[in-house]
Amino acid sequence: MNTILIIAEHDGRELNAATAKTLSCAGEIGGTIDIAVLGHGVAEVAAQAAALDGVSRVVTVDAEHLAKPLAANWATETVALAGDYSHVIGPSTTFGRDLMPRIAALLGANQVSDIMAVSGPRTFKRPVYAGNAIVEVTVAEESKVVATARAASWKAAGGGGSAAIESKPAVAGPAEHTRYIGLEIEGGERPDLQSAARVVAGGRALASEDQFALIYDFADKIGAGVGGTRAAVDAGYCPNDMQVGQTGKIIAPDLYFAFGISGAIQHVTGIKDAGTIVAVNKDPEAPIFEVADIGLVGDLFTVIPELESLLG
C-alpha cells in the first residue's frame, strides 16, 4: 500500500492553499496520507492540516532553526521522516520547487515535477516544453516517489477531518552555511493571484507603471487578483510576483482577462487551465485570440474605462 507524506507549506500562521491541492493529488494516488508540518511554533498550522479531509496523521517537527523554510534545514528533517513512506510530495510553488529536489537527491531519486494527472500509483502525467507536450513518467519500484503537484491541476481538498497530531524532535541543528535575511512581501490587499477566482492581467501595452494602475483599478472593481507578463514585469510596470507563465505562476482562475498581452507560449502555458479567458488586444492577429474564449479587438485604454462604466 502507498504511504504518502505531504510537506506542508505555510508562513508560520496559516497553511498555504497549495497544501490542500497537493492533498487532492495524493488522494488520487491513494493510500494513507500524512502531512509533515515543519517550522517553529506550528501548533496552529498543524491543527489546520489535521482538519483537512483524508489525512491520517500530522507529524510536526518544531525547532527554532526551522522557522523559515530554508531548504538545507528542511530537507534534512524531511529525509529523516521519509523512511516510512513510499511517496513524498510537495506543492509546485517556489517553496516546493526549492525544497523537493534537495530531498529527492538525498533519497537518491529524480523528482517527478508538476504532476498534473495520476495514471497509477507510480505513473504520472506532467507538462514539458512550456505545456506544449504532456509526458507520462513511471517511477521505478525500488525508488521512492518524490514529486511536486502542479497546483493549477488540483482542487483544494475539503475540511472536516480530525487527524491525530504527533510531534517528533528535529534530528539536526541548523546548517551553518545558510542564513535567512528577510522577505519583502509585495502583494497587498488584493486576492492572491494563485487562488483568486478572477484575475486581471496586463502586458507590455500598458507602457508604464503609472498606466498599469488601470489594471489594478479594474481588478479591484471586480474583486480580482492581478497578473502580468514577463515583459510587464521586466519593464517594472508591476512586481515580479505577478508574473504569470512558464517561469512565473501557473494559475487556474474561473475568469482571466488579458489586456495588451500578445499570447506568447510562455505566457499562455500559465493560463491554460483558466475557466474563461477574455482577451483584449488591438492586433486581430495576436496569438492570444487562439486561446481566448471571448476576444475583443480594441484599444485597452478605451475598452477598460468602458467596461468600468458598464459595470457601474
Binding site: 523528482q111 517511477v139 517561469t247 475568469l255 467596461l307
Partner: protein, 248 residues
C-alpha cells in the same frame, strides 16, 4: 575563484514544439536549438563577477552528445574561458547531471556554480538543488540578485510572495531567474576567438558516474486544446456575454 556554469542545449524558446504522431517524443527535426535562456543569464552573471575581479576563471559545462559543443562554443564566444563537454549517448536525468557536474566541481576546485532555474525543455527545475544536496552545500534558487562579499554570497530570490534574501557561504550553488541580468550579445570577432578556446570532452565513465535514472519516460501527447472561442465587437457585448455566462 573558479565559477562553473551549466549550459544546456534546448529547443529555442520561439519554437512551437509539436508532439510526434507516435507519441515517442517531440519533433526536433530541423528545429532551431539554442542555449537554455536561463543559462545565458547564469553565464552573464559569471562573466560580470569575473570582470569585477571576483573570479579568475569561468568554465562552461554541458552534458550531452557532440551537438552540445555548439552551445558550449556560444558560451565561449560570450566570454567563458573554457568548456567541458560531459559526453553522453542518451539524455541524462537531473540527478545524473548533478552527479557528473559535481565531479567536475571536485576536479576543478570550483567555488561557485551557476545554473539556470529550469531547462525550458523538460521544465524540471531540479539540477541546482540536487547538486547542492549531494555536495552538502548551500543552494540559492531563483536568484534575481547575487552580491559577493568575501567568502559568501547574498542572494535575492524570486519567491511566490515577493523577494526573499538569504546569505550563503561559498562554495554554493545558485540557480538564476529571469531578472538577474540581461545577457550580452555575441559579436562576430568573439565567435572567431571562441574557436581557439579550449573545449575538453570527458565521458561519464571518466567521471565515474553511471547512467541511471529512476524515471521511465513513457509516451508524449499534445495538451488538450481549448474550445474555440468567440469574438465580440465592443465592451457592451463583452459585458453581456460575461453576464450571460454567469461570470460577472
Amino acid at each position: 575563484m573558479k565559477i562553473l556554469v551549466g549550459i544546456k542545449r534546448v529547443v529555442d524558446y520561439n519554437v512551437r514544439v509539436r508532439v510526434l504522431p507516435d507519441g515517442s517524443g517531440v519533433d526536433i527535426d530541423g528545429v532551431k536549438m539554442s542555449v537554455n535562456p536561463f543559462d545565458e543569464i547564469a553565464l552573464e552573471e559569471a562573466l560580470r563577477i569575473r570582470e569585477a575581479g571576483n573570479a579568475d576563471e569561468v568554465i562552461v559545462v554541458s552534458a550531452g552528445g557532440d551537438e552540445v559543443q555548439q552551445q558550449l562554443r556560444t558560451g565561449l564566444a560570450m566570454g567563458a574561458d573554457r568548456a567541458i563537454q560531459v559526453k553522453t549517448g542518451e539524455p541524462l536525468q537531473p540527478l545524473s547531471v548533478a552527479r557528473a557536474f559535481l565531479k567536475v566541481v571536485e576536479r576543478e576546485g570550483v567555488e561557485l556554480v551557476l545554473l539556470g532555474k529550469q531547462a525550458i525543455d523538460d521544465d524540471n527545475s531540479q539540477t541546482a538543488q540536487m547538486m547542492a544536496a549531494l555536495w552538502d552545500r548551500p543552494q540559492a534558487t531563483f536568484a534575481s540578485e547575487v552580491k559577493l562579499d568575501g567568502g559568501k554570497a547574498i542572494v535575492t530570490r524570486e519567491v511566490d510572495v515577493g523577494l526573499e534574501t538569504i546569505e550563503v557561504d561559498l562554495p554554493a550553488v545558485v540557480s538564476v531567474d529571469l531578472r538577474l541580468n540581461e545577457p550580452r550579445f555575441v559579436k562576430l570577432p568573439d565567435i572567431m576567438k571562441a574557436k581557439r578556446k579550449p573545449l575538453e570532452t570527458v565521458s561519464l565513465e571518466d567521471l565515474g558516474v553511471a547512467v541511471e535514472g529512476n524515471l521511465e519516460i513513457g509516451s508524449y501527447e499534445p495538451p488538450q486544446p481549448r474550445e474555440k472561442g468567440i469574438m465580440v465587437e465592443d465592451a457592451a457585448q463583452l459585458v453581456g456575454e460575461l453576464k450571460n455566462r454567469g461570470l460577472l
